[in-house]
Subunit: 175 residues, 3 copies
Amino acid sequence: MADRPANDAPYRMVRDVEFGEDVVVQSFVNLYGCLVGAGTRIGPFVEIQRDVVVGRRCKIQSHAFICSGVVLGDGVFVGHGVVFVNDKTPRATADGVRLAGEDDWALLPVVVEDGASIGSGAIVLGGVRVGRGALVGAGAVVAADVPPGAVVAGVPARVRPTARAVGAEAGAETR
Amino acid sequence: MADRPANDAPYRMVRDVEFGEDVVVQSFVNLYGCLVGAGTRIGPFVEIQRDVVVGRRCKIQSHAFICSGVVLGDGVFVGHGVVFVNDKTPRATADGVRLAGEDDWALLPVVVEDGASIGSGAIVLGGVRVGRGALVGAGAVVAADVPPGAVVAGVPARVRPTARAVGAEAGAETR
Amino acid sequence: MADRPANDAPYRMVRDVEFGEDVVVQSFVNLYGCLVGAGTRIGPFVEIQRDVVVGRRCKIQSHAFICSGVVLGDGVFVGHGVVFVNDKTPRATADGVRLAGEDDWALLPVVVEDGASIGSGAIVLGGVRVGRGALVGAGAVVAADVPPGAVVAGVPARVRPTARAVGAEAGAETR
């Protein structure tokens, strides 16, 4: 492990991160207190918070937000603008007066197993497990576990009968 | 009021902003012409536009976009990737030729009252009022007023019967 | 054409981009290998990938992501946080071992015709054409062609009977 990515790029905030070999990190990122496995690529405008574990050979696309409590396996795809959530009832203040701190909520963990893909713009709520090789459609809101190999899409995300195409599953006709 | 946040951080664009005491602003932000109340925290990759008023002890999470016309009360939580909208029929050009300017649309104000929380990835359309202490579920599209204390979720957002859990409300099962 | 925008701003990543006259590009952008037409404005936290063509007098708002395969006509509005997709089954690895590369998927093109507007937070899937002057509501997931002049909204996006208001179309009441 190393304390810096394999590449250089301007405008990066990287603190207390452990990187495996050959990790590429683009500009405009905010990474802290996390672990990033070998061969993973991280796009611009990405934040990864403390205690997150990112596996090997993952792709974390631009504008993704990965919060504390998330563990990603190997070969996981996180699309552009994907947001993970670790809190069911977020509040700015703990008691209406002081700012809420780390002790003021129960962190809900999220696990994304090896080879799963989270489509762009999807939201993954706290407490959820996305199974091995599953595919989450673009724009889905995932509020419950996704079985291994399943394709889910929609708001809230539901399993689609076939795995043939995320786009088709997310949609149907515009008519 | 001061013209700079309480903390230092690289890569910030801050112009004509008035800050209350103890405001913390992270890197990679674009703030201009707005007012930020005491004790508020602003995450990375956030834009806050001209004339916005952010109350005291708010949390503005990463990747949020707060447009002109928005007023946030005290203790408001704005989740990651939340987008406010102030225009019902956005167009790039005013007459098909010249770029649309500030005089080419009617700005629709948005008010978020004290203690309300907007879940991550939610979109709040122009002309809407989110009531005191209300909770907007992650990924919701808010197209109408949210009553005080209500929990809303979905696309479009609708009031859910109980306030027990935003996650559950946003979702149901993935089946 | 020029190799730089008309304005100066700090914290920009711009490589191999051709700009028409009077293009304004804000801070915190990642643009590469693309073509941007005269008079267009690009907001902060925007990524535009290789081979993208952006027409003249477009507005590309903050946090938008425009992927390879996208062609925007003249006078196109791309709202805040809009995400384009060019891949139906994204995977991090091509064969479970090596990282997926450019040859490992079929790129699905997207065309947005002159004068069309994509509302904030919308997702436009690969293979789709958005017709001239069409309006995509905020938060919509566009999974099929949008006829010229149509207003679409929802997940998946469907044509709404009147063009009167994107907000109303996206929504209805919060009840």
